[in-house]
């Protein structure tokens, strides 16, 4: 069994079972799965998880470290892997009655290049920094126009 097998299994234990354990626990489970064909139906296997995941936040539970080590295949990555670092941050949106100028300021302040536009909280459109800039260069007076009319 490789270090990669252990690291990937450690993450899977957390993701699938809600068990936040360390590297060697993942290693033990990965090893057991590799040995599964040698077990009989009535065999009982006990694995002791002797450490926890807090020691591995910067490693196994860090996507960048996993990628750097070659443990995280891009082919197996999903949208979840990309947004996992911001699961508790709400997406920034802007209501359609807000002005073009306010939208541009919001984007500049937060370094956003696009924003979803909402109507009563429901996403109904989007705006893009480059399009807003072009609009205001051509028609500066539209700074006070509502997004829904831009």
């Amino acid at each position: 069994m490789t270090d990669k097998d252990a690291a990937v299994m450690t993450r899977e234990l957390c993701r699938q079972e809600g068990i936040w354990v360390g590297y060697s626990a993942g290693s033990a489970v990965a090893g057991l799965i590799q040995l599964k064909d040698q077990l009989k139906k009535d065999d009982v296997v006990v694995i002791i998880f002797h450490d926890h995941g807090t020691r591995y936040i910067g490693k196994i539970f860090n996507d960048e470290w996993m990628l750097k080590m070659g443990y995280l295949d891009k082919a197996g990555m999903t949208a979840h892997d990309i947004v996992s670092g911001r699961m508790n941050i709400d997406i920034t949106t802007i209501e359609k009655h807000e002005t073009v100028g306010h939208a541009l300021k919001l984007m500049m302040d937060n370094n956003f290049s696009q924003l979803p536009v909402t109507s009563d909280g429901r996403i109904v459109g989007s705006i893009f920094e480059n399009k807003i800039m072009n609009l205001l260069i051509q028609s500066p007076e539209k700074r006070t126009t509502a997004l829904k009319r831009s």
Partner: protein, 52 residues
């Protein structure tokens, strides 16, 4: 105001996302039905992944 960005499920593979933002869309919205939350993945996010 432009059309809304497309929604994808949070289990959508990165390869599919990359094709979407490399073409028609500058970003996609991600829906996590279990947590009832939305996220955004931009072309820049995908570029960060692809160059590693």
């Amino acid at each position: 105001m432009s059309n809304a960005l497309p929604f994808v499920d949070i289990t959508t593979p990165v390869d599919t996302l990359a094709k979407m933002v490399a073409g028609e869309y500058e970003a996609v919205l991600v829906k996590d039905f279990k947590r009832d939350k939305n996220y955004i993945i931009t072309r820049s996010d995908l570029a960060d992944i692809m160059i590693r």
